[in-house]
Every structure is written in structure tokens, then in C-alpha cells.
């Protein structure tokens, strides 16, 4: 046993990232590579009546223009386009026919010898449309809200539980009541790397595809089905992903178009989307929520009403878990929840960092702050009065929940006790100061996964699983887990990911990768260890010959007796015993359903925020924030802190900056660039502090981890909105809180 787990190790892929050696999807070269450029629809709904590609095709070096009119045959059934994250409905098929379903829909791919030529030729495509009226405004279409269809995806995103108790009666009789309508605009993930696929055309029509994805095997599945190819003819590789935040959970249309072009031209093709085209696929859906809370005079919340209506496309029913967070956090006896969707002429929304969680939790946590003012109780005190060790949405106890300790440590670090509750009571010159807080929560899930471990003939350990590292630190923590399990120095351990040829792993999302792939790595290394132990026993004169598995441990590249560490066989000796061959093992890790089923499993956070609001200009700065996180075991405090800081920055962004602004008269997102789609820059981010309150949890998974990808963002928006109220006395329930809403 070495001791890497829990240590703040620098990333194992750090050198690759700071030297430019880390290669992303658009950076793999191929002989005779051609470049594809996507032409996007300029209308939102209707039909293409005519498409003229002649001028583009007349240019020397333009190889092909593929449109719905000349595209090769593709799979017929909807089923063939379903990826692992497809919601119920009919997946969008690029170039299927002349129908336009949303603004920016890809309508042609120009392929040319160079990128510049493809881009220029794309500008020469002439398209005539017959427009049809569109609907893109959630607010004016609420009357069309309906229940979503259920499908496979509903397993992970169940509808809200049935009503409990009698909300109407108890609410009416409550001594304190608050009611509010909460909303936010659509948002786009906008990872720094734009979506790209480099499709390398190999001999015998095989394809090697470098794709930007959160699941190489998901992209492989999609390509094999849509193009009726066998798994052995399609390999998808994705060693580095330049951010994704959920946008890579589904294959995006550049993959389909690049594969189609490569097969048609029998040539390698790269298609990279433009930043503008990054606004033409999945996004966080605009959502409108209504909340009513009823409490007694002691602050006990007895009645909760929470409904939500989100947007979806006309072709798929995308859903999120939104109102269900209320009873997951607060144990009221009388609860009524509702969730509906409205199909609009937009692309299907897509999971974006803490999908549903950072929609529902900020709404309920703002309402709780409103209740605190209604009752004249400190917001932290009110949360402690309504603290629960049970998740009342499932009516199960939490496997662990150190939120109380997060409240205590976070409040102390922040200095919450010094807060004057009166809005507008704290100032620094022209700046109004506000202090706000919020709870955060996110599921701790585990999925099945496989991994392979090989001890090479020269005593190095190589572990693989087809997962992804989107900046989360997967490479590093898996290396730590493997090294510790087999008692090896980290330099001798290599973890590889992002290749569809590797053992099966689910798409990387939902904060489940550390738990899911980490457990598989642990299991496969343990099982490899058993093989090595058997070999070690056969080494001539082995001091372990009569030892039992329970009696040995792995340390310093040796297998040794726990009671007598001198009795040891080196891993090199063990592998030498294998007749000149490496020792390998492939294993599956499954969630311990019987152990988990009686418990609710979640990470929690307590967030405290200070804002300064310029009284004259209405500008808002988050001057400091403290997030205390109860996220199970922390495998690597350095990468873990980065994940939480990143989540906090996203929270600031969601609360104050980012929104995709739709001009409903033309049905198009107007601010489709990084200059106009505002995300924080360095100067927007000030003092961010992270506290990890460790939890010991043997139920959640063998490693006791809960995942940290989403919990950092969830609590931030309400803490900021509540701080803005404390500073200004203005309750803004519509995110982002831009200065026009303050003035």
C-alpha cells in the first residue's frame, strides 16, 4: 500500500497540458486530410425550397458539397440515432430532408482541400427557404405545457413524487407564507474547445475517429448505428477534451457530417464547428418555476409547493429533475410538486453542469431566504431548524450528510455571525455590501464500469477504461487509486482513457466518474493483485508460499506479509514467474444495489457569499465566497479544490453573467459569440475559499467518494441572489441578475 489517495498530487497530465503536447480532437493529423465546413440555416422553421451549390463547387479544391438532396443513404429508423443520453423522441438527423426545425440547423457540409477554402466556399451556397411561423418563447407558451414522455432516460430522471399530506390546507393555515416565480434564460456550455471530429479513413473502409466527446463508446455506438457499420470498423479516440460541461454527453452533428463525408470521399476529413455554431445544439433549457412555502411561527416549514416548466425541442422530450430538490433538502409533511415541458422550435436541450440541480436548488434556496425575512429568523438558523437526515422525496435516510458541519465551518470561516440582517445596512463608500447564503446538493451516483490492468514484463502497471477526462482530473485520481491498491510508486503507473477499444465505461457525467471508474480501477487492481499473489507463491523459495490472501499487503513494489514485512516477494519476481508474459486482468465493478437501495446518497454544500453592489451603477461583484463541501472522501485535494473553484465560478456566471439571449421575432440566439455571451474573466473573480468536510461513507461506493463536478455550482446562485437582496433590498428572482434589474 502506497499512500497517494488523499494527497494533493499535481496532475499526471500536467506536463502535456502546459507544453502543448496534449492533443484535442481537431489536432490529430492524417495523410491527405480534407476539411469540412458546416453551412447553417438562417431561418428557424420551414422548408428549403432550393439550394444552389454550383458556385461553391466551381472553385478548384472544393471536393464536395453534401446537402439533403445528394447525401448518401443513412439509417432509416429513429432507433439508429439514439445515443446513450438520448431523451425520449426522434433524435435530430442532419441533412435528413428539406425541413428546418431550428435556427442554425446544419443544412450542408462543404468539403475542400483547405479549411480556408471550405469556409469561403460555404459562403457561396445559395439557399431559398419557405418560412413557417415559429415559437421559441417559453413565457408566452406556458399554456402548452404538458407532461414529458417517459423513456429510458426517465430512469435517471424520474418525475417528481406524488403529493404528500395536504398542501392547500396547511399552507392556508400557515402563519408565515412566501410565494415567488423564479426563472432563468437558456445557457450554452461553451467549452473553450469547439466541437470537432477528425475522421481518419483507414484501409478496408475502417474509421479511426478523434472526437470531442464525454464518451468515446457513445460516439462509436452512434456512428455504427447511423451508418450501419460494425464496431470493429469504428474506433473513437478522445484522450483530451477541452472542456465539455455536459455538451459532450451526446454526439454532436459535426461527427455525423465528418463521417458521412469521409465515407463518401473515401478520404480523411476534419470538421470543426465555429464558435457561432456552438450555439446550434444542446443548451440548458429556460425554465420557469413557482414556489410557495408555509411555515409556523417557530420557523418549521410545513408546506411546500414547487412547480417547474422547462423548454424542449419539437422532436425530443428533454427533462430535468427540478422541483424534487425541495423535499430532498427540506422535510415538510405537506408537499405538492409538478414538472412539465413545452416543445418549442429550438434544438433539444442538453445536460449542462448540475442539470436541474442548479435550476431547482437556487429557486428553493432563494425562497428559504425570503421566508427567513418573513419570519425574522437568521437564514442559517432557519436552515438548521429545518435540517433533515432523511431525503423526503424518497423517504430514505442519507448514507451520510455532514451538511450541519459544513454550515458550522463555512459560517465561521466567513464570519456570518457578524452579519446585520437589515438589508442595505452594510456599506463601503458607494458600495452596498450584502451577505447571503445557500445550501447546495447533488446526487452521488455510481454506474457499472469495466477496467483492465496489466503488469508489464518490466514491472510497470498500465490501467485502462474507456472513460473521459474533461479537466476533472480522471487521469490523476485513477493513477492514485491504482498505485495505492498495488503498492506501487506513481511513476510506474499509467492510466489511459478515451478510446472505444478500452473496457466499457459510461459517459462521463453526473459527477459519477470518480465513483464509477474509480471503483472499477480498484476492483481490477485487487483482482490483478490476487493473480500476482498466486505467482509470488510459486517463486522458488517464496516466503509467501503458505500465506493466505488475507495475510498479505502490497507495498514498495512488493507483496509482503502484514505481520512480517521482511517476508516479501517483489512484483517483478511475480511477473517473471509468468513465463515472460505480462500479467493482466479485466474486471467489472457494479454498484452494490442491496447495500445502496435503502439509502439516499448525495453530496452537500454550505455556501456563503459577499457581494458589493455599486449604488449608482448597479454593478455587482462577488468579493468573497466560502464553499464548505461534504463530498465524501477527497481523493486529491488539489484537483478537488480546482473542481469546486470552477463550480463556484460557474455559479457566479449563472447568477450574474451568462444567458443566451433569444430574439423571438426571428427565433435565433443573438449573442452567439464569446464577446457577447458573458462568462467571467479573471478580473471578475475574487476571493474564493473551499472547505472540505470529509465524510466516511461505506454505502455510497467502495471508495467512499461522492463526486465533485456539480456540487460546487449548485449553492452559488442563490447565495449571490440572497446577498444582492441583503445589499439592496431588491429580490431578483430572474437569473442572471444584470445591472438593469438592480437599477
Amino acid at each position: 500500500m502506497s499512500n497517494y489517495i488523499g494527497k494533493p498530487l499535481s496532475r499526471v497530465d500536467g506536463v502535456a497540458k502546459v507544453t502543448g503536447k496534449a492533443k484535442y480532437a481537431a489536432e490529430f493529423d492524417a495523410p491527405d486530410l480534407a476539411y469540412g465546413y458546416v453551412v447553417s440555416s438562417t431561418i428557424t422553421k420551414g422548408r428549403i425550397t432550393h439550394i444552389d451549390t454550383s458556385e461553391a463547387l466551381s472553385l478548384p479544391g472544393v471536393l464536395s458539397v453534401i446537402t439533403h438532396e445528394n447525401r448518401p443513404k443513412i439509417a432509416w429508423l429513429d432507433m439508429s440515432y439514439k445515443d446513450q443520453d438520448a431523451p425520449p423522441g426522434s433524435p435530430f438527423r442532419p441533412l435528413r430532408d428539406n425541413k428546418i426545425s431550428y435556427s442554425g440547423q446544419p443544412i450542408a457540409l462543404v468539403v475542400a482541400e483547405t479549411f480556408e477554402l471550405a469556409r469561403y466556399a460555404a459562403s457561396l451556397i445559395r439557399v431559398d427557404y419557405r418560412e413557417a411561423p415559429h415559437e421559441t418563447n417559453l413565457d408566452t407558451n406556458l399554456h402548452r405545457a404538458r407532461k414529458p414522455k417517459s423513456g429510458l432516460a426517465s430512469l435517471l430522471k424520474p418525475p417528481p413524487p406524488k403529493p404528500r399530506g395536504n398542501f392547500d390546507e396547511v399552507y392556508a393555515a400557515s402563519s408565515a407564507k412566501v410565494e415567488g416565480r423564479y426563472s432563468h434564460s437558456p445557457e450554452h456550455h461553451n467549452p473553450m474547445e469547439m466541437f470537432a471530429s477528425t475522421v481518419v479513413y483507414e484501409k478496408d473502409d475502417k474509421l479511426t475517429i478523434y472526437d470531442k466527446t464525454q464518451g468515446a463508446q457513445n460516439s462509436q455506438l452512434y456512428v455504427t448505428q447511423a451508418f450501419n457499420m460494425s464496431f470493429s470498423d469504428v474506433r473513437v479516440i478522445s484522450p483530451f477534451v477541452g472542456g465539455a460541461f455536459g455538451s459532450g454527453l451526446r454526439p454532436q452533428y459535426q461527427l455525423f457530417l465528418a463521417v458521412m463525408a469521409a465515407r463518401e470521399l473515401k478520404r480523411s476529413v476534419r470538421v470543426t464547428l465555429t464558435r457561432q455554431q456552438m450555439f446550434t445544439f444542446g443548451h440548458r433549457p429556460a425554465t420557469i418555476q413557482n414556489i410557495a412555502l408555509g411555515a409556523d411561527s417557530t420557523g418549521k416549514i410545513n408546506a411546500i409547493y414547487h412547480d417547474a416548466v422547462g423548454e424542449t425541442s419539437q422532436f425530443e422530450d428533454y427533462t430535468e429533475i427540478v422541483p424534487t430538490w425541495s423535499p430532498m433538502i427540506y422535510p415538510a409533511e405537506n408537499v405538492t410538486l409538478d414538472y412539465k415541458i413545452v416543445p418549442l422550435d429550438v434544438f433539444t436541450p442538453l445536460d449542462m453542469r448540475a442539470p436541474g440541480g442548479v435550476t431547482g436548488v437556487p429557486a428553493i434556496e432563494t425562497a428559504i431566504d425570503e421566508m427567513a425575512y418573513e419570519l425574522g429568523i437568521d437564514p442559517l438558523e432557519l436552515r438548521l431548524i429545518n435540517y433533515s437526515d432523511r431525503n423526503m422525496a424518497e423517504d430514505k435516510p442519507f448514507s451520510s450528510k455532514e451538511l450541519r458541519e459544513c454550515f458550522r465551518q463555512g459560517a465561521e470561516r466567513f464570519g456570518w455571525a457578524k452579519r446585520n440582517p437589515q438589508p442595505g445596512s452594510m456599506r463601503d463608500g458607494r458600495n452596498l455590501i450584502g451577505w447571503g447564503m445557500s445550501t447546495g446538493m447533488w446526487d452521488a451516483n455510481q454506474m457499472p464500469a469495466r477496467a483492465e490492468a496489466v503488469l508489464t514484463v518490466n514491472g510497470k502497471l498500465r490501467v485502462t477504461s474507456a472513460t473521459a477526462d474533461i479537466g476533472t482530473g480522471t487521469y490523476t485520481i485513477m493513477t492514485q487509486i491504482a498505485a495505492d491498491t498495488l503498492g506501487m510508486p506513481i511513476e510506474d503507473v499509467m492510466f489511459k482513457l478515451g478510446d472505444s477499444d478500452m473496457p466499457l465505461a459510461p459517459i462521463e457525467g453526473g459527477s459519477w466518474t470518480a465513483a464509477t471508474v474509480g471503483s472499477a480501477v480498484k476492483v481490477v487492481c485487487e483482482e490483478l493483485g490476487k493473480k500476482l499473489f498466486k505467482l509470488a507463491q510459486k517463486v522458488p523459495g517464496s516466503p509467501l508460499a503458505k500465506a493466505k490472501w488475507e495475510d498479505v499487503e502490497f507495498a514498495d513494489k512488493h507483496i509482503r506479509l502484514k505481520q512480517n514485512p521482511v517476508a516479501a516477494v517483489s512484483l517483478q519476481q511475480a511477473v517473471d514467474q509468468n513465463g515472460g508474459a505480462a500479467v493482466w486482468q479485466k474486471s467489472t465493478s457494479l454498484p452494490a444495489m442491496m447495500k445502496q437501495k435503502n439509502y439516499a446518497r448525495a453530496a452537500h454544500s454550505a455556501v456563503f457569499v459577499e457581494v458589493m453592489v455599486d449604488e449608482d451603477l448597479g454593478t455587482i461583484r462577488v468579493t468573497r465566497a466560502v464553499s464548505a463541501i461534504a463530498g465524501g472522501k477527497i481523493l486529491n485535494p488539489k484537483t478537488a479544490r480546482s473542481q469546486i473553484i470552477g463550480g463556484m465560478v460557474w455559479g457566479i456566471s449563472k447568477a450574474l453573467e451568462e444567458e443566451s439571449v433569444m430574439d423571438h421575432s426571428i427565433g435565433r440566439f443573438m449573442n452567439h459569440s464569446l464577446a457577447e455571451y458573458h462568462v467571467p474573466v479573471n478580473a471578475d473573480i475574487h476571493d474564493l475559499d473551499v472547505i472540505f468536510v470529509e465524510e466516511h461513507d461505506e454505502i455510497v461506493n467502495p471508495l467512499g467518494v461522492k463526486g465533485l463536478g456539480e456540487i460546487g455550482i449548485v449553492g452559488m446562485p442563490a447565495a449571490i441572489a440572497n446577498a444582492v437582496f441583503h445589499a439592496t433590498g431588491k429580490r431578483i428572482r430572474e437569473l442572471p441578475i444584470t445591472l438593469d434589474k438592480i437599477l
Binding site: S10, E193, P680, N682, A683
Partner: protein, 181 residues
């Protein structure tokens, strides 16, 4: 209000391609002879023609800073620069910051080492631009305080939100470096 745009411009010149020409770019001290059209940006020349993909494309519009490189020691957005304009200039990319084999940490540029040490990245995509920008920032010599660094690094977006660690890394390197070095 319904505006009616003409379906076709009244007269449109026939599309015509400008021929390519030989261009020699000095990248990280090494001359690269490339055959480029005048419309090729320095960014595309680096990535697609010189096959130096360490310099990243994040927007192609000068809005994100991922493509930052150093030209004669000065940081620029390579996506807003045509390659043909940079003949005879000293172009430095992320690939040229380390001296010798980067596998040995001793060979890394102090800024690269500081980024690793402070975990000043997550996905790594904006990182080469951030590092080149930070080196350019130090060459400029205007940043005196932490808030100066933050302001002057605000042309480089990091969507993962690694800003506090990026600033820590730069601050550390600035403190280590003698004023007139």
C-alpha cells in the same frame, strides 16, 4: 416589421482564389517554409500547416485568447493576424517555452512549472494561451499587484474557472523573477 432583402446581390463578381505563396515563418527559433494563401491566419498556419497544435482555436474572433502567442516577445491573438504579415518576426509558441526535453521538469519554463504546481488549469485547452499571455504580461512589466495581473489577464478566458490558480501561478513567478531580469 418585415424587411425584404434581395435574394441575390445585384452584381456579384465570380469567385476567384488568390494563389498561395511561399512564406517563411520563424517559429521557436526554427524557420518553417510554408506555402500559404494570404488569407491564412497565423493561428491556422501554426495549427494546420506547421502542425504546431499547442496554440488553440477557441473562437477565431479575438474574443477568447486561447490562440495567444508571442511575436517578438509581445503577446498577440494569432487568430487576428495574417501569417504572411509575420515573415521575419520571432514567433514563440507554447512548444518553444521549454528548453530541451520537457519530460524533465527542470527544462520547463518557470511559468509552465508554476501552472502545474498551482493546478492553474483543468481541461488544459486555454492553458497554452494563458501561459504565453502570462509571459507576455511579464515582458510588458505593467503588472504590479494581484489585481493588475487579474485585469491584464482578462483577455484570456478560462471556462473551467481556474482563474484564482492562474493568478497564483503568475504572482509566484513574478515574485521569483528579479525586477530587471
Amino acid at each position: 416589421m418585415q424587411t425584404t432583402l434581395p435574394k441575390q446581390p445585384v452584381t456579384r463578381p465570380a469567385p476567384r482564389l488568390v494563389p498561395t505563396q511561399p512564406v517563411t515563418l520563424t517559429i521557436n527559433g526554427t524557420p518553417h517554409q510554408l506555402q500559404l494563401a494570404p488569407w491564412t491566419s497565423l493561428l491556422d498556419a501554426l495549427r494546420e500547416y506547421a502542425h504546431l497544435t499547442g496554440t488553440k482555436k477557441g473562437c477565431d474572433h479575438g474574443q477568447c485568447g486561447a490562440c495567444t502567442v508571442l511575436v517578438n516577445g509581445k503577446r498577440i491573438n494569432s487568430c487576428l493576424t495574417l501569417a504572411v504579415m509575420k515573415e521575419g518576426d520571432d514567433i514563440q509558441t507554447i512548444e518553444g517555452l521549454a528548453t530541451g526535453d520537457p519530460a524533465n521538469p527542470e527544462n520547463l519554463h518557470p511559468m509552465q512549472r508554476a501552472f502545474i504546481e498551482h493546478d492553474a488549469y483543468q481541461c488544459g485547452y486555454c492553458t497554452p494561451g494563458q501561459i504565453c499571455s502570462a509571459v507576455g504580461l511579464m515582458n510588458e512589466g505593467h503588472a504590479k499587484s494581484r489585481s493588475d495581473i487579474q485585469e491584464l489577464m482578462s483577455g484570456n478566458i478560462c471556462r473551467c474557472g481556474a482563474y484564482p490558480h492562474i493568478t497564483d501561478a503568475i504572482q509566484e513567478v513574478m515574485q521569483q523573477t528579479p525586477k530587471n531580469a
